[in-house]
Amino acid sequence: MDLNYTTEQTAFRAEAREWLAANVPPSPLPSFDTEAGFQAHREWEAKLYEGRWGMITWPEAMGGRGADLIQWLIFEEEYYAAGAPLRVNQNGIFLLGPTMMEYGTEEQKQRFLNGMATGKDIWCQAWSEPNAGSDMAAIRAKAELSEDGKHYIVNGQKTWSTRAVWADWAFGMFRTDPDSQRHKGLSFILVPLDLEGITVRPIPQLDGLPGFAEIFFDNVKVPVDCLLGESGQGWSVAMATAGFERGLMLRSPARFQQTAKRLVELYKENQASADLDPAVKKAVVKAYMDAEAYTLSTYQTACRLVQGGKIGAESSTNKIFWSELDRDMHATAMSILGARAELLPHAPQAGGVANWLDGWLFSQSGPIYAGTNEIQRNIIAERMLGMPR
């Protein structure tokens, strides 16, 4: 065990910090759940790509830096500490990208990865269906091979597609064998969202913004070269993606450390009134500890993986931990803000509420998406502890 960064790691951090200091927009971009905000974030992706900071874990040949997980953690720390924008293309870069590098053909990699990296193509997921949420194997949307074998004819409905409203492409699972059941007969298919027969219906979130969408497919002709991996093997391909999703790449400890830090600052600014409720100080201390613990455990996992280890039940334990931590931290902030907590930031009397309310709303979704915490607890009990099904 050596908890010091190497000279190279320290230099890498300095390089990242310098670039971010020079390039991060001075004021926050508008929400990417608005059209203008989406465009602004797309441009930010392009800028990241130019600086080779967009997909640092990708190979250098693809515009990345071949960074290992420790470097990735360092970069994330600098990224969040700099207050840089959220990643509008995270589904592409962190989920589909690595999956494509593993399962894609050479032609597919050539065709898709660069557009993904530059922000030209923004990707969304098309996984859940109205009756296949937690139970992904219940997928019914069909993709039938045309008679000439050149296209899949896609029919059905997907839902909860985050950032699908203005995205360019979707990736998801479709039933290519109409007689198949559950996990079998599914294929992983990439779909350009401008094809005829596709309707994207925005779903407004709790904050009123269309953060996700339903996608309807009505005899959509998708070229067969959009199949990723083998036909009927969609479940294995998707599970690789789900592993990434629940795993490290999207739940950067840096995000929660910055929230904990802001919570400490909020508490200090309001200490006199906050201390009237003795639970608040305790909760602030706990927020700091838990964000630290999440960071420590992520580093440990990253070190293990860098040394060739495999990811285990961490993807379930960490899902529960960060999502409940995030909700708890925001609940504490709401307590500190008191009567102001319910106000939108532009309300005349909202002074100092910052974006805590937005964060509180968003934190409600944490225990639900990417596999509800109830499902994660089942997984821990059954797979990690070996309890009977």
């Binding site: 949420g133 009134s273 409720d277 307590s335 106000l343 532009h346 109830e374």
Partner: protein
């Protein structure tokens, strides 16, 4: 000793519930979100016709002369439908404030406003410092405003308003600009403080009772949703984890109801314990509101996170009520001050005094 409501009280509650469920639907609430005032004159007229605006107004002023205990079940039903109208506020806060007023202008004020309130032709709201903002000030014909240890009465010409948007689109909150003057003064010193304290307690009682209704509604919605929604080949409501999410609301809700009823009783009977009882009621009921919001959100899955699903109507109001009419810290401290005082008589046999 009889800790039950009368048949009459329960029947009236039922008829009000029926009316509200028919008239105040999620659809009608969403329609009001798109209007400028967010309030409906027609709905107010209907409430007046039912006698609800007159309930707490004394008979001599054309009212029904009922008290806080009579009204508490109605407030609960208002919460159940998330009523987008200041009925609870007016009946539990404004009307008693007017009634309890004394001094030079008191009789004139009562004579002018109470009959109008009862018949539904005037609305009176109260702005206390504890709330920072005044709900529904924009539709008030008279505002009674706290100014330190004074109360002032203002007609619309005497104030200007700024809207403050809440996460709950049904809440209409305003900051009020106005100038205190001898002309607007209606109570001062101890007399004013008593009115302020009483208004505070009644306001807290109101949101406590509404929180019971909100919580019940959220549970009912989630129970229905999870009975319909299928995953892994069965309704998700049949999974033990989902059942326990709901049971954890339900059993706590049962133990929040009686504190609310007791508080309404001790306020109505002007018992000394009423402030402590109100704080207990407020804490217990709004805590259930927070748990109900969290657990029903979880039971709804991603649906709960959407604008389309009606859960948000009740959830956001429950969140707001946690910090309205006195923060958690304020109410806890009031109970602590009592429980820890040397004169407190607590323990078995000392609940009803």
């Amino acid at each position: 000793m009889d800790f039950t409501f009368t048949e009459d009280q329960l029947l009236f509650q039922e008829s009000v519930r029926e009316f509200l469920l028919n008239e105040v639907t999620a659809e009608s609430i969403r329609k009001l979100w798109d209007t400028e005032s967010g309030r409906s004159d027609q709905l107010w007229t209907q409430l007046a016709e039912l006698g609800l605006t007159a309930m707490t107004v004394p008979e001599e002023f054309g009212g029904l002369g009922m008290n806080e205990l009579d009204f508490v079940l109605i407030a609960q039903e208002c919460g159940y439908v998330a009523l987008p109208a200041p009925l609870v506020h007016q009946a539990l806060v404004a009307v008693p404030t007017l009634i309890n007023m004394s001094g030079d202008n008191a009789d004139a004020l009562k004579a002018q406003w109470l009959p109008a309130i009862a018949e539904g032709s005037a609305k009176v709201m109260v702005g206390l410092e504890v709330n920072m903002l005044v709900e529904d000030a924009h539709i008030a014909d008279l505002l009674i405003m706290q100014h330190g240890q004074q109360l002032h009465a203002l007609t619309p010409a005497q104030f200007t308003l700024q809207f403050n948007e809440s996460v709950d689109p049904s809440r209409k909150l305003y900051s009020v600009e106005w100038t205190a003057s001898a002309e607007t003064l209606i109570a001062d010193g101890d007399a004013a403080q008593q009115l302020i304290d009483g208004a505070m307690d009644r306001g807290a009682l109101g949101v406590a009772a509404e929180s019971l209704g909100l919580s019940q509604r959220m549970v009912d919605m989630a129970v229905t949703y999870t009975a319909d929604r299928q995953q892994f080949g069965k309704p998700i409501g049949s999974f033990q984890a989902v059942k326990h999410l709901m049971a954890n609301i339900a059993f706590k809700l049962e133990y929040a109801k009686t504190p609310v009823y007791r508080a309404a009783y001790t306020i109505a009977h002007k018992q000394q314990s009423s402030s402590v009882n109100v704080s207990h009621a407020k804490l217990a009921a709004t805590e259930v509101g927070q748990i109900a919001a969290r657990n029903t959100m979880q039971a709804h899955g991603a649906m709960g996170y959407t604008w389309e699903v009606d859960l948000q109507i009740f959830m956001k109001k429950a969140w707001a009520y946690n910090n309205a009419w006195g923060l958690v810290a304020f109410h806890e401290q009031r109970i602590a001050d009592f429980v820890l005082s040397d004169s407190a008589v607590i323990g078995a046999g000392n609940t009803f005094v």
